[in-house]
Symmetry: C2
Subunit: 615 residues, 2 copies
């Protein structure tokens, strides 16, 4: 079998002929930058072949002499030496820290998932000589009536701890499905137990530290992107490599979370051992991969996951490095394609507590839609893909410093980046603005095709594309562009979401106009331009005040659960009562989807304000 050696690291791996260099690098655990998951789109996996013969079509097409795309270049019969240029080694593992409102000084509040209570215990005597564990549990029951479990690790030196604390001990307890668990007993400690809330997105991972006066959200790309931009390609990887696939993906996400935690702790000056809980949200596949649950049947009809309602586990069981006696709580999912992120979103927005029906649309890598009020909750998934997170597009990026986040026309197109940094790429809100502006300026037609000869439209490799910012203005020395393939991706994504919502509403005998509020969740915040979202048909043409941005409700929900155990039960209740509609086999969905793959829609009557503006 040919041996592939990656330079300058000098790591070798045997690879079957026909293996892509990217896959060989993955097998060798050599990270190669790639933002599109090996689809030949992002051109970021460029390598130089120093020795040996390769196959495939990974060279040419605008690449410098001697450069190959690792994802499109295949191992042939000979041994290879493959050099990774510096920029190819720059896998984007960078963590971004964003300030948020700090928590109060006495945070977390009583009733949190993990809390510490200071207890005075009566010292034992001959008339009251129950065991130390029973003494402790009796006292705890006076504080809060529940079942209590003392794990063996805590039990072992309980006698020493209680006496060392002279019967006035701090007891740290977590809320568990069957009762409460005692995590620590000891002398009164300076610090309350801190927690970290995590949202594992398919494209980006975010984490927030719940500690006194902490006010940070850390985010990074999900490194699993090297195995594909969406959940499907990652599930396929688990299936293709039955032995190592699932563990490899698990390790990547755990490493990412570790990095986020490290950044948060560093920013706040908190020790790992003071973090006693992770509360984790995310879509069903992401939670499966985080826990190491085999996800393969999620993508096969009838789309069945391993588990949606999950018991808490120990940090060592998942491999995260917080206090070893701490707990990892995963929020419950509804189905294989409506995950804990939506449960968390419904919790965070109070969708299920409202008098009148509203919708929650989560524009993550999968688009999910929940509609409901206090009387019902229904949901569906739209398989939107990562387009609105910057995934799979030529210049796509997440909303990090330098990402083009808004675009408008002042005769010519203008744009602004996050932090006013030189542009590194285009993020979701930038794409929405860009599409809408291009349509409005008639640089693009309603089917999404570029108009030849329009300003900014150039032809490369027999394909039209739009150059938003030329290489000399850009941070990476590459043009910031929108390709025809990018547009198709974006249109399919927005079409899927609109169609899914329409079908779900129809099945309820309702229309978009019947919704009190349409809440848009995602990383956009208030940077998303409502008119532009309607203009491209991502959102329905309803009065704009009915459209609300609700931010990352997955993370918000995880924070809410962490800080109030009542929300843990509420989330389980939400997941249990939400009805899932399977759209992939719904007879009307494909029709609705095809109709929605226009800008804004084939049925212009559905978008009167857009039609009016364009006349």
């Amino acid at each position: 079998m040919p041996v592939v050696t990656f330079l300058p690291a000098g790591v070798s791996v045997e690879a079957d002929p026909g293996t892509s260099l990217l896959d060989a690098a993955r097998q060798a655990n050599v990270p190669i930058r790639n933002d599109c998951g090996g689809q030949g789109i992002c051109t970021r996996c460029q390598v130089e072949v120093k020795r040996g013969e390769v196959a495939g079509r990974g060279s040419g097409g605008g690449l410098a002499e001697g450069r190959f795309l690792a994802c499109r270049t295949l191992v042939a019969e000979s041994d290879l030496e493959v050099y990774l240029p510096e920029e190819t080694r720059e896998v984007e593992t960078e963590v971004t820290l964003r300030r948020t409102d700090p928590f109060p000084a006495d945070y977390p509040p009583p009733g949190a998932m993990v809390e510490t209570v200071e207890l005075d215990l009566p010292a034992p005597n001959l008339d009251d000589n129950v065991s130390d564990s029973e003494r402790l549990v009796r006292r705890l029951r006076k504080w809060r009536d529940a079942e209590y479990h003392i794990p063996l690790g805590v039990l072992k030196d309980l006698p020493v701890r209680l006496r060392d604390a002279q019967w006035r001990a701090d007891v740290t307890v977590s809320v568990e499905p069957w009762g409460s668990r005692i995590l620590r007993v000891g002398r009164p400690a300076r610090k309350k137990p801190y927690m970290v809330a995590v949202d594992i997105g398919t494209t980006a991972i975010k984490a927030q530290l719940l500690a006194p006066e902490a006010g940070w959200v850390a985010s990074c790309y999900n490194s699993q992107v090297m195995f594909g931009p969406d959940v499907i390609s990652r599930i396929i990887h688990c299936q293709r490599d039955e032995e190592h696939g699932c563990p490899a993906l698990k390790q990547l996400v755990v490493q990412d979370i570790e990095r986020l935690i490290a950044a948060l702790l560093d920013a706040q000056g908190v020790e790992r051992e003071d973090v006693w809980a992770l509360v984790v949200s995310g879509n069903t596949t992401m939670i499966h991969l985080f826990l190491g649950l085999y996800p393969v049947w999620i993508r096969r009809e009838p789309y069945v996951g391993c588990a949606y309602l999950l018991a808490p586990v120990r940090p060592e069981d998942v491999g995260v490095n917080i206090n070893p006696a701490g707990r990892v709580f995963c929020l419950p999912a509804v189905s294989s394609y409506v995950g804990a992120d939506i449960t968390a979103g419904v919790l965070a927005t109070g969708l299920g507590d409202r008098k009148r029906p509203s919708a929650l649309i989560d524009l993550g890598t999968n688009g999910e839609i929940a509609i409901g009020c206090e009387e019902f909750l229904v949901c569906c998934s739209a398989s939107a893909g990562p387009a609105f997170e910057g995934g799979g597009s030529a210049s796509g990026t997440r909303a990090r410093p330098g990402a083009v986040e808004s675009v408008w026309s002042e005769g010519t197109l203008r744009w602004r980046t996050v932090g006013d940094e030189p542009p590194v790429g285009i993020c979701g809100t930038g794409y929405i603005d860009l599409l809408a502006t291009l349509v409005r300026e008639r640089i693009m037609d309603k089917t999404g095709r570029f108009v030849a000869g329009a300003p900014g439209v150039v032809q490369r490799d027999d394909e039209f594309l739009y150059v938003l910012a030329p290489a000399e203005q850009a941070a990476g020395g590459r043009d910031i562009i929108l390709t025809q393939a990018d547009v198709e991706n974006l249109v399919r994504a927005k079409g899927a979401i609109y169609a899914a919502g329409s079908v779900l509403l129809e099945s309820l005998g309702m229309d978009w106009g019947d919704l009190e509020t349409i809440m848009l969740a995602g990383g956009f915040g208030d940077r998303l331009n409502k008119d532009n979202a309607v203009t491209i048909g991502l959102l329905p043409d309803v009065p704009r005040e009915r459209i609300a941005f609700v931010g990352n409700t997955s993370l918000q929900g995880a924070v809410m659960v962490a800080q109030d155990a009542a929300n843990y039960w509420k989330a389980r209740d939400i997941a249990g009562k939400m009805t899932y509609f399977e759209l992939s086999t719904h007879p009307d969905f494909m029709d609705r989807f095809v109709s929605a793959c226009f800008l804004p829609h084939t049925d212009t009557e559905k978008f009167p304000s857009v039609s009016a503006a364009q006349e």
Copy 2:
């Protein structure tokens, strides 16, 4: 610090001056034979000092030239080389296998602590696409309504297992305090889950394999004996060596149990992975040490243990090598000195189900007494010491082949050994017979003193002792003897038990005569001679038919729990409702004890049949 090197092993350890060679060897983890726990009694820890100067009084006294007792010989200022003769290295780790009635071919029965059920699950479809875990739990609830927990290890490949089994899977579940735990899901297996019941005695450990057609009990000495013959000396060791003491003792008992399991599996041809549960009984200190719970406050007023009611743990948590997904169940204790062995005994004998009060006397290393009926259950502990288990006596041994198990007079004293092997020592029933016969033959007086000049009584080192079998008849080449110290030990032990029972009965306003049955538990079986036990005042002088031998009820109770989970709950109920009497501070106990330290008693009216026989 002087360095002690043990030969022939060549293991060295630094030891403070004043440390005994036995303690130095323990620190070096070099096993040295000693049956008395380092009290200078058994003379089995003989070593030769090859180099260096020692202190202490460990030579002379019948030892061969150049021989020292390791327990009485102290490290001085110089480095030492200490040679261990072969017989000193022969730590008795031998496992004895005894045949019992085999279990039926379809054993274990339904309702056992761990059982496997074959389930047909409906395959998922689009109208029924709950998660795999929910599908499994739904089906299990139809089989037996309970809460079910699927640990992460089982959950991870649940999807693969269910499909591999084509939805007709064997599911192995254990009963847990909060519900049921799923230990395995997979293709229907040949084998039922087997279990091992264990009784951890202070002196001996016994284990029984619960498998189809298995009929073996394995037993061995508790290797912790090298740290002392009774629970107190072992607790002291934990306290003296806070860092390593408790873990060292834990490791010893776990190794012993491992050896017993190995012998049982070997005898029956069963694989370790087919053993899914240990059900463990034993006194409170033994269970503490088995689990690694810090036991130090058990021996200090007010005598408080770490925990009496214990949750099941994973095999890896205690370090036993059965199926890693299996469970270890410890039976509940009542107090620090009335352990799970007594709970198991009450369960096994049905003491708490009887219409009229009876007593259960457990003649283990600690004597414990429970008295009760369906209306009440009380108990106490008598701190008898290991005398009736052969511990701490010059020729004491457990009931193994060659142990003198009965003694009688035919003009001269006659004896019989277990298996009619050449004598290796004297076990509990042998001591009872021997004392009674010596008193009856007036070779010993009622205070336990040997009568000078009586046949068999010889004087050595200014002390009288009785030679039961001379060295030339004995297997070990040493006289089988009874020393004055042995007699004092035995008399104190029997006196403590009788006094404890008397005080407990008085506190109930009862007398020995009010008991329907006096059940004697322990390893004796029916080899114990009732008349002799009454003659020495170990048992009260009641009609002999009221005295029953019930065998090792601790092990029996563990077996009963393993084979019927209902008994698990019953044991918890027994432990919860049994009232413990603390005798160590009881005002009458010491009086009663002193009166009982005669053969049979100072108050001969309490033993009319004995007085009559001796007149």
